[in-house]
Symmetry: C2
Subunit: 402 residues, 2 copies
Amino acid sequence: MALIVQKFGGSSVADPEKVRRVAGIIAEAYNAGNDVIVVLSAQGKTTDKLIAMAKEYNPNPSKREMDMLLSTGEQQSVALCAMTLQAMGIPAVSLTGWQVDFKTNSNYSNAAIKSVGQERIRRELDAKRVVLVTGFQGVNKYDDITTLGRGGSDTSAVAIAAAMHADLCQIYTDVDGVYTADPNKVKGAKKLDEITFDEMLELASMGAKVLHNRSVEMAKRYNVDLEVLSSYERLPGTKVRGVNKLEQAEVSGVAKDVNVARITLIGMQDIPGMAFRTFRCLAKENINVDIILQSLGRNGIQNITFTVARADADQACDVLEAHIDELGFAGLDVDKHVAKVSIVGAGMMLTSGIAAKMFDALASRKINIDMISTSEIKVSVLVNEEDADRAVQAVHDKFFGD
Amino acid sequence: MALIVQKFGGSSVADPEKVRRVAGIIAEAYNAGNDVIVVLSAQGKTTDKLIAMAKEYNPNPSKREMDMLLSTGEQQSVALCAMTLQAMGIPAVSLTGWQVDFKTNSNYSNAAIKSVGQERIRRELDAKRVVLVTGFQGVNKYDDITTLGRGGSDTSAVAIAAAMHADLCQIYTDVDGVYTADPNKVKGAKKLDEITFDEMLELASMGAKVLHNRSVEMAKRYNVDLEVLSSYERLPGTKVRGVNKLEQAEVSGVAKDVNVARITLIGMQDIPGMAFRTFRCLAKENINVDIILQSLGRNGIQNITFTVARADADQACDVLEAHIDELGFAGLDVDKHVAKVSIVGAGMMLTSGIAAKMFDALASRKINIDMISTSEIKVSVLVNEEDADRAVQAVHDKFFGD
């Protein structure tokens, strides 16, 4: 017997038929003798509909009242799913964020989790009930309802799993696991049986949108074993853990990120502190810089090239130009037609020649590498956007081809 | 400056335009310098829709989960109305039953109010906010959400007005007050400026569905001044109070109730205790008896005639026939084509000849009176159902005609 947390997203509980399918998955875990906690999102497009509804009453509603409104979506979800389980003869009880003492700070619409109470959930589990808890929502110290923002329900599930010391937190999604590359775009992409938290975080930040990073970070911090799996396929999914229990693959996945722009400051003075000053200007405006390439100085002059999120590119240029006196560059070049291709693997640090193997794959397809960045578990290269898909396929073939 | 509770029903807040109208009424009271607490029902047909939705998941959902589901309707209402007030520049905050510590027992779907907290509401009023509270719902000692059943939101408003010692509790409805008779059916029906709680209770039990009796009973118990008025007309409504501040009218209203059936037990033994035994049988089955007429005994034999709610008539007959050995009657007659016509007035007890004036009105139209029942503030007569509307008009003409 184990304590399992199961999380289902909005599309998995969109209508009575889908809720019955989900209830079947829950019932199976319960009937196998497990304690089962279920975390649900609002049904289907409910949250979007409520947001649109609010705009009819106030084009710019206060976040406090918005959270009050939106939290009704998950409350309806858990009540309807509890009714469905009861119709199947499974004892079940639905609980809201405040009922399980899911405490957050007061940052309405994007609240941070502070703690999750164990008492009420424990009491219901001891009474042999399936406990359905609203995802995405909590309560602050004023007893006001808050919501967690993007990735909220996944994070709710992990926080509850951590608080209750669950043996496993299953995140049911519309994909059946984590792949070595996007299976819709890359031939030969394979489902992974296991992946580490760090690999998952790197893949997610590269655009593999299976789990929100916030939930993976929390799972890593509290060492909650995750499993990503499909509510349709009923097959084993991908385990996400602190340490890979299988033999570590040198590379776990290949990812592409097109949300990138490259900015070059041309003709800066080659004196100490120029890079620091440049990135301080951007940091003050909350613009994150990713890959950085500083050219060797020549004749007292150097170039600094770096990447930012594509949406931040225009603002970054404005900020830099506003500081042109301080930074003293001669020119500024922006390229929004670039993409980042990355390989991720916790086994990489144990194996030499991984980066070289990647560069070889790209060179053999005549794909030009613009910038390179490496970490202990990742190698990223910047390429032209038009080459990106070919680059991913080439690298994937090299590492995962037969 | 006064503390005013305003309650608006579901049809008054059914869409953005209607909510804006309601917000205008609230803003007027707030801008006049009053502390304003607003109690809202769920929008339009929301509750009915949620009930229908639940049936798709479970034809017989548990009441606890049903209350969890239904309570989202009022929560959406108060959040949207708060947004609307904020858009008009009026500070406002929405609160649920549990947030204002609206305590009930655990009789899900028909819970009884135990207490209402003052602290949170007081704090919000002191911060000069309009406080919008969900009607119809509360929380029990387990922190589970309950709903109050029929007439719930009116009763919520009165309970909050009582707890907060409000100066006035305004119940906005789709009629503009309480009339001397149903204005849709009786020519010359007039709106009353004032009426006492007892008169209102009698009129409501006679079928004048302006306020639910439960809310009037609570207002009477805690001496909460009520006002019934229209959210469309913006005219003074009818005040409902413990004591009528105007000169007491001898008769306040004429009402008709067709939810009546007459049952006669024929040929009972004329010995003491037969009536007691008869009504004990019915009381055990929770069947309420209204008017009772016991004929004078002759030759040791008597008849007992009484009225019950029409819906209870068949069950009442079954119960009586099951006890025929004990009760020893020779025959049983049921008539479902009767109606009760009543005059109600707190001034009646001070004036003689009121009943005679009513009987005169009926006799002049050749309407036969079947049974008569009187109390301190009411005279009821039973007539054939087909004569009922003519009877109401005749009596109304007599007391209110020019």
